[in-house]
């Protein structure tokens, strides 16, 4: 029986849908191993003294939420447990709202944390790389107030913070440009601040070369899988891990279809040669 290309395509999509939906409903509990890049990020996040200031930049929008939001929860929760002071910024307009959403949920989990004391959302600022450069010299000039309008001088969390060099490290949740690359270029390469981050899986291959001997980037969480690895390392199994079974099954289906497609291609070529 010969299937039309249209129906072949639809069959593949249906199988992927089933392959993703079923493991979400019926958990398989497939093992998750942490990679070196995720371990580097985890060690960095857990290797700072209590009370250290860290900067988390929410450089994504809802289109990348399924991949980057689980990372944001995992990293921010881990940092709050370590009693760090978290300063949040956003190079993407919707990033500020996604940051607010992250801390709203974390506040439900950890009622003791206080806005302006343990964390602050400085909001979005346009300008990309220029904004980061300015933060390298004076963060108060870029953000005179936090997102709710409180002047930066009245925020206890900002005591002693003048510029990027006052942070233990910078972490960018990045869906593209401006994002992690711009932070590497300015925060690390210009201001010598340790820079790390998480990126969507699509953009991860372009970011990976920055993890090198020069330590331009200190580890990387690439996509949902890396978020699940981070959840496992930090001991908080959450939404990223729950999607990993589905991810593995979908990949198996894709690999299977690639193999079947190649075998079919070679068989057709062989038949044509024979003719």
């Amino acid at each position: 029986m010969k299937m039309s290309p249209e129906n072949t395509r639809r069959t593949l999509f249906t199988l992927i849908l089933i392959g993703v939906a079923l493991p979400l409903i019926f958990k398989l509990g497939l093992p998750i191993e942490s990679s070196e890049n995720v371990q580097m990020v985890y060690d960095l996040v857990n290797g700072q003294p209590e009370g250290s200031h860290i900067l988390l930049s929410f450089d994504y929008d809802p289109a990348s939420k399924p991949e980057l939001h689980p990372m944001a929860y995992a990293v921010a929760r881990n940092a709050l447990e370590r009693k760090y002071k978290i300063v949040c910024t956003a190079l993407w307009p919707m990033g500020a709202s996604l940051c607010a959403d992250t801390f709203k949920r974390l506040k439900e989990e950890m009622p003791g944390i206080e806005d302006g004391v343990d964390y602050v959302n400085l909001g979005f600022k346009a300008g990309g790389i220029v904004t980061i450069q300015k933060m390298g010299s004076d963060i108060r000039d870029v953000y005179p107030a936090d997102m709710s309008g409180t002047p930066i001088g009245e925020l206890p969390i900002m005591d002693g913070i003048r510029n990027l060099t006052d942070f233990a490290f910078v972490y960018s949740f990045s869906a593209g440009a401006p994002g992690i690359k711009e932070w590497v270029m300015v925060a690390h390469d210009k201001n010598k601040v340790i820079t790390t981050g998480g990126a969507t899986a699509v953009s991860a291959p372009a970011i990976l070369p920055y993890i090198n001997e020069q330590k331009q980037l200190h580890g990387l969480l690439g996509g949902l899988k890396a978020a699940a690895e981070y959840e496992k390392l930090s001991g908080h199994i959450d939404i990223a891990t729950s999607g990993m079974d589905a991810q593995s099954i979908a990949h198996l289906i894709i690999i299977l279809f690639i193999a079947v497609g190649n075998i079919q291609y070679h068989l057709i070529r062989k038949r044509k040669r024979g003719e």
Binding site: E6, F13, V20, P66, Q133, A201, N212, A246, Q247
Partner: protein, 212 residues
């Protein structure tokens, strides 16, 4: 009211998700509606956001609060207005000034940063002793050095790819193919992650609200 708005949000989210994914069967009006709502909402959101979160706090509020201290902001304000002259063909040439300024400053800033981060630091990172470390590290370092050199050879077009040079270019192609494969793998993972995100919404947020 809050409960109703949540309920409405869930239904709109679910219907738009179904609308977008219906394209996988074939192009249809539900997909078109969902697509155009997305485009319209994005443009509207950007427009309102730019006015309320960029122009008002960074320009209008500063000028009205203390004009003497911020009078220089008139310059970017005027340049911004000149951008809008694109809409009037007779004076559209005026928009070339802010565009020229933007291109010039962007090129200037980017040249220095890219030169440092993408050229100098990346080249320095490959200038390593490949035979330092464990056996696995040595293999990795050799692959890094050989892959970088052969990859660059492939993109050198001023000499014909033949002889030893051609072998280098051929090896470079294999390294490029591996990197394309990795990029494809990551892309597939990203797309599946987006599907997982939507299905998690449909199964665990929307479905419990419609089931008795």
């Amino acid at each position: 009211m809050v409960h109703f708005m949540n309920w409405l949000g869930l239904w709109i989210g679910a219907l738009l998700t179904f609308g977008i994914y219906s394209f996988l069967y074939k192009d249809n009006p539900f997909y078109k509606v969902a697509e155009q709502i997305f485009v319209g909402l994005s443009a509207g959101y950007w427009f309102v956001y730019t006015i309320y979160f960029i122009l008002i706090p960074n320009l209008f509020n500063k000028l009205s609060a203390d004009f003497g201290a911020h009078w220089l902001l008139i310059v970017p304000g005027i340049l911004g207005i000149l951008m809008l002259t694109q809409l009037v063909p007779k004076v559209a040439w005026l928009s070339r000034y802010p565009i020229a300024l933007m291109i010039g400053t962007t090129a200037g800033i980017s040249f220095m940063r890219y030169m440092k981060s993408d050229v100098l630091s990346q080249i320095t990172a490959t200038m390593i002793n490949p035979f330092n470390g464990s056996a696995v590290e040595i293999v990795g370092q050799l692959l890094l050095v050989v892959g970088t050199i052969c990859g660059v050879i492939y993109f050198f077009f001023s000499k014909k790819h033949e002889g030893a040079f051609g072998v280098g270019a051929k090896v470079g192609i294999y390294f490029l193919m591996v990197s394309f494969g990795a990029a494809f793998g990551y892309t597939a993972m990203a797309r599946i992650s987006l599907l997982i995100g939507r299905l998690q919404f449909l199964l665990f947020e929307w479905a419990p609200n419609i089931l008795p």
